[in-house]
């Protein structure tokens, strides 16, 4: 162990779903990691806020709909989920558009949480 306390890991989700696999395989990382008891946070920033958009139906493009799995994040121990308010606003999204209740915060708040991390993983 590199630390004599829990390791603080943040998942920084900046990519939209479907156009690339980053969001999907990033979610797989979050779920596996959660089996290890550490301190987790997730931040949805830039196009990553689209990951949490509700009412997606990917049947028409022949790809697996995976984003309902974001609903289990909290149960899996990813207790802190931050969503960037400016990214939401730029994209015309409100908390009602998202599939889970989230804490909408400003970039500075996310930056300050980021500054406390031991590891930041981008997806």
């Amino acid at each position: 162990m590199a630390r004599d306390r829990l390791t603080k890991i943040m998942f920084m989700c900046r990519q939209a779903p479907y156009g690339s696999v980053y969001a999907y395989e990033g979610l797989e990382v979050m779920l596996i990691f959660a089996a290890y008891e550490q301190e987790y946070a997730a931040a949805f920033v830039d196009d990553g806020v689209f990951d949490l958009k509700k009412d997606k139906d990917s049947s028409g493009i022949g790809m697996k709909e995976f984003s309902t799995t974001y609903r289990v994040m909290e149960d899996y121990g990813i207790e802190k989920v931050y969503v960037d308010g400016q990214s939401m606003k730029d994209r015309g999204l409100t908390p009602d558009d998202l599939m889970i209740p989230v804490e909408v915060v400003d970039r500075d708040t996310i930056a300050k949480v980021m500054a406390e991390q031991d590891v930041v993983l981008p997806f």
């Binding site: 939209a16 779903p17 479907y18 958009k53 709909e65 606003k89 730029d90 015309g92």
Partner: protein, 97 residues
């Protein structure tokens, strides 16, 4: 000419570059992550609305649905893959990758 844009306007320059090159009455198809430009209420809404006045702007329905986008910018037309094929048959394609 059929311009195709598959990139999010929030992350990439593809749509801006396409709009700098499009000629009056050209067709522009937004698909894959490009459909985020067609979403109503974004900071690019007025840009896309203006583009839809000058060019024929389409968004691929299956890609909109996959991303949960229902309300789209006025003047943008939704098409399906058959419509995409018809556009590609009628026009030379310039892909803005």
């Amino acid at each position: 000419m059929l311009h195709t844009v598959n990139k999010s306007p929030f992350d990439r320059s593809a749509l801006a570059s396409c709009l700098a090159s499009a000629q009056p009455d050209d067709h522009i198809l937004l698909f894959e992550d490009g459909v985020f430009a067609a979403k109503a209420g974004t900071k690019y809404e007025s840009m896309v609305k203006e583009a839809a006045g000058k060019y024929k702007v389409y968004a691929l329905g299956p890609d909109l649905q996959a991303r949960g986008i229902d309300a789209i910018v006025d003047g943008v037309e939704i098409c399906d893959y058959a419509g995409f094929v018809a556009l590609a048959a009628d026009n030379v394609m310039c892909p803005w990758l």
